[in-house]
Symmetry: C2
Subunit: 356 residues, 2 copies
């Protein structure tokens, strides 16, 4: 069942079709829906938004939707149930093919929509994407790509929590996806890659990290003069991330997730403490909003053929509106096709050398 | 060879004998030695300080030492060589029994000094401590215990980078050492323990984390009404660490090290950014000094019978002076004996239940 609102003038087909799963996160569906409405009001009549929720929730949102007029097309899609934060990801995805998340992923798979946004269970989003969408060339498991604000640039962190597995092949794939993303979407021709470690020496860290260090060194050398060249700056400690030397920081999903949340927690703790002690100042507010993940867009599920954005579990409406804007930009730039192209170059036998 | 300076009035034996390894870190030995002198000037004639360096460095420091008068006893001990940051820890310790670090550890082992401070190679410090000093009851491998500043309290992070191994037995030992530390040194009768994870649900994270979750739940229940009672608050995400709900955060050494450095890096990045944009304010300076690890004391090597403090690789003189003050307090409070006592209670068969 769908409930749809369209402006009467609208006739032409939508240029961007974005689905938003409103369920299964720590914020109320109505809060996320406010973001959907905000995105709709900010955009043109070329945008079609599909918000997915259970029947009960949809019933509550109808009135809210009717109070707003948006230039594009807005519809509510009803799903049977939701996947909760505490559920075991793959089991939940398999057991609930009619959950808001799985229904949204099906819409993306069928190309009924161009992008899916969810603030729900990260593991379930990754599992559902992996089970429903074709993998990008050579990618075994999707990862989460999140952006960390640093001095003057946004650093792409891969993996920010997509999966726990940690071998050198996975780490290399994280690097490749980060490079492809920064080249295609960040506009950086020769991105600089760092490996998150506990010391800068090549001998530091776990065996997968040492192997990934050697492989990235070899890869960077091999590709130096090709269209897929990148710089490998070596191991990077978490405290040096902010100095602006890297465009991509590679980590396994567990460590990347801890890093992301440590940065977030420290920043908000400090800024909230200072806010209570310092006179109001716009610099404080500006930096607060850069680090406030409840207001920032989200992480890209990287490695599948489709734009899937995972928002923060505490995402507010503003975050959803930003995620919609990001999804539109990714669709416009053909990000997934570009990453896929870059990864397919990577698979070319003569490029592989002996380094993998 | 030793070069010693004593105030002529001094006759009584030293109450606190602290050795400081001046070599093998990113700061210059003279910088660390300034901290030794500062500690000496701040303390009484009951303090004996032994700074260990190579002959060449000692020669450079003599003049510096002679310019200062301290109430206690100061001596320079000459060692043959230093262990560098990039060296493989255990191999370096075994190959260099006459390095500044290994000589210092020998002094501690022989009870010639009461505590050893070093800002050198973390792995080498841990290895040297493990090879030289008796282990505390039940502890297989020492860990690093570092303090994280949060709202209103210091949280003990164990392991902050002592070793990479990550099984549930190790995580439990980290918890036990953190509990013992906070009870003995932090004065917290019923400490709250959290497990660093990527989500709060018991199903989150790696198998060792899930096993540690179950074991800590059982242990907390079993010990609830005994003198070694503690609260287990469950999994904690890095962003929630600052809310003041935990006294101890348990992690494997790799993740703990990333956490520590992420907190440090984020805090310094933000504070330096704000400092350039905000008018001078004492709150900014106060919070900066709380988070500036180059000025803060260091991490305790936990799990061996001896006070060993590992300072930051970039430690400034102020950090060394603080580490000396901490070492004095630890010796005064009999911290190691108290932790050892607590751990030996833990080993009592009827206390063990089936939870390990």
């Amino acid at each position: 069942m769908e409930i749809a609102w369209s402006s009467p003038q609208r006739r032409k087909p939508a240029k961007w079709r974005i689905a938003i799963d409103l369920m299964g996160c720590d914020s109320a569906p109505a809060e996320l829906f406010q973001g959907v409405l905000l995105a709709g009001m900010r955009s043109s009549d070329a945008l079609q938004l599909t918000a997915i929720a259970t029947a009960q929730v949809c019933a509550q949102l109808v009135e809210l939707a009717e109070r707003h007029t948006i230039p594009g097309h807005l519809q509510l899609a009803v799903a049977q149930e939701a996947i909760a934060m505490a559920e075991v990801p793959t089991a939940a995805v398999c057991r609930k093919p009619k959950a808001t998340l799985t229904v949204g992923m099906q819409l993306l798979k069928d190309r009924t929509v161009d992008a899916l946004i969810s603030a729900g269970n990260s593991g379930a989003i990754i599992s559902s994407a992996r089970l429903s969408l074709p993998p990008l060339p050579g990618i075994r498991r999707p990862a989460l790509l999140a952006l960390l604000p640093t001095a003057g640039k946004m650093v792409a962190l891969v993996d920010a929590g997509g999966n726990l597995k940690n071998n050198s092949a996975t780490l290399l794939q994280h690097a490749q996806m980060g490079i492809a993303y920064q080249r295609c979407f960040g506009g950086i021709a020769m991105p600089a890659v760092g490996l998150l470690n506990i010391g800068i020496e090549p001998s530091k860290g776990t065996l997968p990290l040492k192997e990934a260090y050697a492989a990235l060194t070899a890869h960077a050398k091999l590709s130096a003069h090709s269209e897929r060249g990148f710089t490998f700056v070596g191991n990077v400690e978490a405290r040096d991330l902010f100095e602006g030397h890297v465009d991509i920081i590679v980590a396994d999903g567990f460590t990347g997730n801890v890093l992301l949340k440590a940065v977030e927690g420290t920043a908000l703790f400090l800024l909230n403490t200072l806010r209570g002690q310092l006179p109001p100042h716009s610099s404080l507010e500006a930096i607060h909003s850069r680090f406030n993940y409840a207001e920032s867009s989200g992480a890209l599920v990287c490695g599948v053929d489709g734009v899937v954005i995972k928002c923060h579990g505490n995402a507010q409406g503003a975050a959803i509106a930003r995620a919609v804007a990001d999804a539109i930009a990714m669709v416009d730039k053909g990000l997934i096709a570009a990453i896929s192209h870059e990864l397919s170059l990577e698979q070319h036998p003569e490029d592989m050398g002996g380094s993998l």
